[in-house]
Homo-oligomer: 309 residues x 2
């Protein structure tokens, strides 16, 4: 099974109460690719500038990641983001954004990328998401992410692309904003009414919730005593989630739940260190061990309580 992801490739400068890094490899497509490559082959589509080096390419192009569609734009600069977090690690504060080559990005997909069975439209302009969606017309499962900026400024285009996908992943506040519905279950049902069979509400430190036509599933975040840098957690979650879906020939509620557990687990590794540091050296058995821990942490027995008296 092969996945294609279209999104940003970036340099991130991040400061948290626990440390800082300058110009780390980052970006939605990067975090997604590293996470999903544990489960399936992934084609990365995104632009870089003249400042892109072999060092970053070596980190990105790990086994399972095909970087042929990483487009070098001569004379341009790679997308750059600078941000910081206070002790409330749920809120990123942006200090600087330089779109660089990302400003005029027009996704160019090779035949191999277009032939993907699974497609992830990371958070980019909805018009571009729609173009990519139309090129990947054989994909059996398509998911998208978005953000408050597009909900505010390109809502119609976003709704058009949502109608063409199987799954929408959004932060829970974005989901409420998109639908105008403060109740999470109703907000998800509204999106499902537009076409997608499933909605994932990302809830930061509280975990994630999956709502499908058939059911409801919720999983806490893996508990960590030390979170160094939450940057990329959402896209790493998406990589574990979509990667798991791609690793199976079929799709049912059970596989979606396993996908949620793998997404949650990958995201937990991501935030343990800065940028891609932890996931870059992650080993597959570590993933399954943590998935098993998560299962144990959410399990409770079936013994019913007798009615009193």
């Amino acid at each position: 099974m092969s996945i294609t992801v279209v999104g940003s490739i970036a340099y991130d400068s991040v400061k948290t109460p626990f440390g800082e890094r300058e110009r780390m490899l980052g970006g939605t497509a990067v975090h997604f690719s590293l996470a999903s490559s544990f489960f399936a082959d992934v084609h990365v589509v995104g632009p870089v500038g003249d400042d892109w080096t072999e060092t970053e390419m070596a980190t990105l192009a790990r086994p399972g990641v095909n970087a042929d569609d990483v487009e070098h734009v001569p004379g341009g600069k790679t997308f750059f983001w600078r941000g910081h977090y206070d002790y409330d690690l749920n809120t990123a504060h942006t200090d600087d954004t330089q779109l660089g080559v990302f400003a005029d990005f027009q996704p160019k997909l090779s035949d191999a990328s277009r032939a993907c069975e699974v497609l992830f439209l990371a958070n980019i302009q909805p018009e571009l998401q729609l173009q990519v969606r139309e090129q990947c017309d054989r994909a059996r499962f398509v998911a998208l992410d978005s953000m408050n900026l597009w909900i505010d400024t390109a809502r119609d285009a976003l709704l058009r692309v949502i109608e063409t996908v199987d799954c929408v992943l959004l932060n829970d506040t974005e989901l409420r904003m998109l639908t105008g519905e403060p109740n999470l279950v109703r907000a998800a049902r509204t999106v499902i009414g537009w076409g997608p069979g499933s909605v994932v509400a990302k809830q930061g430190e509280y975990g994630a919730t999956l709502i499908t036509r058939a059911g409801f599933f919720s999983l806490p975040a893996y508990p960590l005593e030390s979170v160094l840098d939450p940057t990329g957690a959402g896209d790493t979650f998406a990589g574990g989630f979509i990667g798991t879906i791609a690793a199976h020939d079929t799709l049912d509620e059970e596989i979606l739940r396993s996908a949620m557990a793998h997404g949650t687990t990958l995201a937990s590794f991501n935030v343990e260190e800065f940028g891609t540091e932890r996931v870059s050296r992650l080993q597959h058995p570590e993933i399954e061990d943590r998935v098993n821990e998560l299962r144990e942490m959410t399990r409770f027995s079936g013994r019913p309580l007798p009615a009193r008296g």
Copy 2:
């Protein structure tokens, strides 16, 4: 098994986007008692004034609730709270508080209340909690709730009583505030270091997390498409949680997890309608049905994913 609860008995006037009620029966001890009475006998200790009527007493004194220690203070008025919620139902906005007889409340426990096996110190002045704790010296399980006001103004007294209890229930923001530790797991471990064997972090619409010396357990809130009034959800949770503990002769991680599920379930019924309306007519089989639904909504299979390649 019998439980004693010491806390407020109140009239609540509440307005939410979905309706409003004037002078409903409310208060921490009331919500706790109604919920816990499904599982054990509960003695309520709290003061009321001349405005207290037979109607409220009839609602409170349901089967399993012993109201002998509801103290009528002649010439006084029952605690009154007026508040409202906007669409963000997680935040209560207080419009008026009249402490009335609660201002000079000195808990007076009958022999029967003092002989309890399980004690819940609802959110009152820590000095009073400590007095009650000392009177109930045969209790095998003692839990307490508190609030930001006491963390701010009576932290030393609060720490003294925390040292004497088995379980602390707090909102997760209060837990962080109490310990000065932004990380939830570390905050809970700090409290456990003070003496209690377990900590419950109440997380509103996100559910609740249990941290013990031995482990970690987290459960989402039961998903509801319609939440009318969250007032009393935390104390109703505590009632289901402590009631379940009281219904068992022993205590282990499995019983604590079942208690979390029953607390979560009771709280979900509480918020479906205003005040005590829903829990007052709740039937035991409805509780077990919803606990089973919660188990199904959090379960995922054990099938491991093969490593790729």
